[in-house]
């Protein structure tokens, strides 16, 4: 660029520009740095968040257990030899477990104080585990069987190092004697941390070591089924009407504004709607996953409608004109030609909407999903809970042992949701078509 020499009596423009240029470039670099800093901040927070749940939650996937050689003696379980299921159920399996542990630790079973401490090593639900084994296979009666049983939640926390073993006995709530036993048991190999399958299968429990997300998973599945069955057909139908048929008039304008607004209405308001309409007016039961599914359907509809409309809009008019040209009616054009081409877009939107619905908590609190449910729900009308609600309930419970479970459940939820979102991204990339 040729810069002309300054005119006499006029200031030298080039030198003014040159003087400012360092300052301006510094401003440029600063601005660029702020941009990078913003992204780094967001990503650092993401890492911090994942790091926090991972470090708090990974221990939930293993559980401290004892391998006990339980003597399932005939006279302790079924002294009259009736072999009837209800008699077998009545036996004191907790006592059998305590005796087995005492024998393995070399403790005299008549020492009542020691026995009490031994009992405190085992989970409160230890009798259920052994009973389940015996009732499913009564031929075990009379044998000595090795059975893995869960340790008490306090012991579990101690073995995982969440409670410092150098604390005083009253602070760590495990006596010196118990600590010595635990070391012995670990050295002899009948105390170990094993993969925690019960986390995935059990329902609610007041003892942290046996609490699981089984019921919550079933409840969430029922809800997702309801959402898919209702919101996909309704959402796609509504989008087709708005995009392909609707004349431009006040009525369709109202619907448009409405849908955009519904997408931004706080989710808790949908919960209030569900409480007032589905439970109080229609008389559906509280805590039922059907009601949860209905509420989430209303919440997901706008997402699916908006995504479907975008997918329909992306199909070029030439496709429609081609169909009209060979004599197809409007409905035929849409169902035979436009809709099949829009399917990948609709699918992506649906998955994103489902992921949102799966992670939603607030509206479910309104319709009584905060419930202590032990039994698996068999129909969508049974009381159940949902995965995010289970996380909420554990997060607000006081016991130490629930902390890792809360984070563990959050890990599972985040994993599922990231998989769903990734699937949506992959689908979008795979089927994306530029016309």
């Amino acid at each position: 660029m040729a810069i002309t020499a300054p005119l006499p009596g006029k200031p030298d423009r080039t030198s003014i520009i040159r003087k400012g240029i360092g300052r301006r470039y510094a401003a440029e670099r600063r601005f660029r740095f702020f941009g990078i800093a913003a992204i780094v901040f967001a990503l650092a927070f993401l890492l911090f968040l994942f790091g926090s749940i991972l470090s708090n939650g990974y221990t939930a996937f293993v559980q401290t257990s004892f391998n006990l050689n339980v003597n399932l003696a005939q006279d302790a379980i079924d002294p009259t030899g009736t072999q009837r299921a209800e008699d077998i159920r009545k036996a004191d399996y907790g006592l059998l477990a305590r005796r087995a542990l005492a024998a393995q630790l070399g403790v005299n079973t008549s020492d009542r104080a020691a026995m009490r401490e031994i009992g405190a090593l085992l989970s409160r639900d230890v009798d259920l585990e052994i009973r389940r084994r015996v009732t499913s296979d009564p031929s075990l009666i009379g044998q000595t069987v090795p059975i893995w049983v869960l340790a008490h939640g306090r012991i579990d926390s101690l073995m995982k190092g969440q409670v410092d073993r150098n604390l005083t006995a009253s602070q760590r709530r495990v006596s010196d004697q118990q600590l010595a036993w635990l070391d012995k048991a670990e050295a002899e190999g009948f105390l170990a941390k094993r993969f925690n399958t019960q986390l995935f299968t059990n329902g609610a429990s007041s003892s942290p070591e046996t609490a699981g997300i089984g019921v919550a998973i079933i409840g969430s599945l029922f809800m997702m089924m309801t959402v898919v069955v209702l919101s996909v057909p309704l959402g796609v139908a509504a989008a087709i009407y708005l995009e392909e048929f609707a004349p431009k008039n006040i009525y369709t304008d109202i619907i448009e504004v409405n849908i955009n607004n519904l997408a931004a209405v706080p989710s808790i308001v949908f919960g209030l709607l569900g409480l007032a309409i589905f439970i109080n007016m229609a008389g559906l039961p509280r805590s039922a996953s059907l009601v949860g599914g209905l509420v989430l359907t209303l919440m997901t509809l706008p997402t699916i409608i908006i995504a479907t409309r975008a997918a329909l809009k992306a199909v070029p008019p030439s496709i429609r004109e081609g169909a009209y040209g060979v004599g197809a009616s409007k409905v035929q054009t849409i169902t035979h030609h436009v809709l099949p081409l829009a399917v990948p877009g609709i699918l992506t939107g649906t998955i994103v909407g489902l992921a949102q619905a799966l992670g939603e908590t607030a509206p479910l609190l309104m319709i009584g999903m905060v419930a202590f449910v032990v039994e698996y729900p068999t129909t969508p009308l049974d009381p159940s809970t949902a995965l995010p609600v289970q996380i909420y309930m554990w997060a607000t419970s006081a016991e130490r042992g629930f902390v890792e479970r809360t984070s563990g459940a959050a890990l599972i939820l985040v994993f599922v949701l990231i998989c769903m979102n990734l699937l949506a991204v992959i689908l979008r990339r795979r089927f994306e078509r530029r016309w």
């Binding site: 440029e28 601005f31 913003a38 139908a237 229609a282 209303l298 409007k330 996380i391 607000t396």
Partner: protein, 491 residues
């Protein structure tokens, strides 16, 4: 028959009718050689629609209205002294009647005899309670004779309602089928008829969105009016004390329901969140759309999407177990007294949650600014950042304002983070290190747990919900209006 069985039956009948119609259409072509107006499938569809659709609509409407209608009928026949009770107590009575009515079909002959005798006064009501208990009807106290009478009525109504609905559905299905079958012929414009039904279906699906909004407004308005019978609107909107007391049956009208502290907490936390989300989100969006090369973009964008896909309960959990204690310890190191759940904790975490929302909306808006504006600015010798600051951002400003307003409405309606991390004490404080509470937190705490439904303590949740809905609706409508207007400007 239960509703689901009827619906299933009708669907099967529809399928059969479809097959029959298509078959008959093909036969017509074969036997008469006539040229039909539509393809055979449409005749099948025509027959199926006439068979199943009217009956389905009737069944669904019936199922929806049944519960309310029977309840009203039973309520009308209750004795006068029960009629005179308050609405809350009547609800209780009807609940017990309902429980007994559900137990009645499960009773054996003998049990039934006991119940009958109890009603006529031959045995005590305790006996009736015991019998019902064995069939899974758990009651706190022995039922009164009128309850059993009412339960009988209810059971009878229910049975006859079932029969009536099944019969009517059957009649409609047969009638529809006969009518459609009689009209079948080469001249019948089956395709047009079927297609207009399809379009009708599409229209009704799109109405659901409107119905949802209407449902939200009316259900909440109704309960809010109910609430204002206990507490005056002035006390609610301008009261500065929130102290609802606990709710117990029969106790009403106590406690204070001032909205101001909750509103203040909501605003305060949202403001903090905006101070985090707007600069970070906006700068990230600017960098992403103006500076970043394709490599950075393909990496950072999915990351931000992941941040957007994390459910709010996980953010709340993070605030509760990690970020709150972290801030508290950091504050203690600096000599500040920050409580674990504070305005700052909830606000910052909520801000991070909203970053992706702000950045993806601003990204769209910045990309919509025409390239010619940038080129003009570069041509005048401006640096990249000067172009962005003096040309692109001013041009995109209305859209960005709209995006920020949408983000504010999200922050105000956000629930789980504040439930877990903001605290529950309704205090009016300007100290960001202290806990405050929000509208959403109070909606949750007033409605979880076993509560008496017709008390101001629970009804206030609907008044709060309506307030929340109105605020966010206003923000959304204005923001969408701004965004849309801005978009048209450059199209």
């Amino acid at each position: 028959m239960s509703t689901s069985a009827i619906v299933l039956g009708l669907l099967i009948a529809g399928l059969v009718a479809y097959a029959l119609g298509a078959w008959r259409a093909r036969n017509l072509i074969k036997s008469t050689g006539a040229k039909l107006h539509s393809r055979p499938g449409y005749y099948g569809g025509y027959l199926a629609v006439w068979t199943a659709l009217p009956a389905l609509i009737l069944t669904l409407i019936w199922a929806g209205a049944e519960h309310t209608a029977i309840r009203a009928l039973v309520k009308d026949k209750l004795p006068e002294n029960v009629q005179a009770l308050s609405a809350a107590e009547q609800t209780l009575v009807l609940g017990r009647v309902n429980a007994i009515a559900r137990g009645i079909p499960r009773l054996s002959e003998q049990d039934m005899e006991v119940i009958k005798r109890a009603r006529l006064g031959f045995t005590t009501m305790d006996e009736a309670q015991r019998v019902l208990q064995t069939r899974g009807v758990v009651m706190g106290s022995a039922p009164a004779p009128y309850m059993i009478t009412a339960a009988y009525d209810q059971a009878t109504y229910q049975t006859s309602s079932r029969w009536l609905s099944t019969g009517l559905a059957l009649a409609l299905a047969i009638g529809g089928f006969a009518y459609a079958f009689s009209r079948m012929g080469p001249k019948l414009r089956a395709r047009n008829a079927v297609e207009s039904v399809v379009v009708g279906g599409l229209i009704s699906a799109s109405t659901i969105a409107v119905l949802t909004t209407v449902g939200i407004v009316f259900s909440m308005l109704f309960e809010t009016i109910h609430f204002f019978q206990y507490v005056s609107p002035a006390d609610f909107f301008f009261g500065t004390v929130w102290d609802p007391r606990f709710s117990a049956p029969g106790r009403t009208g106590e406690g204070q329901f001032g909205l101001i502290p909750l509103f203040w907490g909501t605003l305060y936390i949202s403001t903090v969140a905006m101070f985090v989300a707007v600069p970070v989100g906006l700068l990230a969006a600017i960098y992403m759309s103006e500076y970043a090369g394709p490599r950075v973009r393909t990496l950072a964008k999915p990351m931000l999407e992941i941040l957007a896909g994390i459910p709010t309960i996980v953010y709340g959990l993070f605030a509760l177990i990690t970020f709150g204690p972290f801030l508290r310890d950091a504050g203690a190191g600096l000599g500040l007294n920050i409580s674990a759940s504070s305005v700052l904790t909830a606000g910052i975490v909520m801000g991070v949650m909203i970053i992706p929302f702000v950045s993806s909306l601003s990204d769209d808006i910045i990309n919509a600014v025409p390239q010619s504006l940038r080129d003009g600015s570069f041509g005048l010798g401006a640096t990249h950042s000067e172009t962005i600051k003096r040309v692109v951002l001013p041009a995109a400003l209305p859209g960005i304002v709209g995006a920020v307003l949408l983000a504010v409405s999200r922050a105000i309606g956000e629930t789980m983070i504040v439930v877990l991390a903001a605290g529950i004490a309704a205090t009016l404080t300007i100290n960001p290190f202290e806990p405050v509470t929000t509208i959403t937190v109070k909606i949750v705490s007033q409605l979880t747990g076993d509560l008496e439904f017709n008390s101001p303590q629970t009804l206030v949740a609907f008044a709060l919900g309506l307030t929340l809905f109105t605020i966010t609706l206003g923000l959304n409508i204005y923001a969408l209006y701004v965004v849309r207007k801005y978009r048209e400007q450059y199209e």
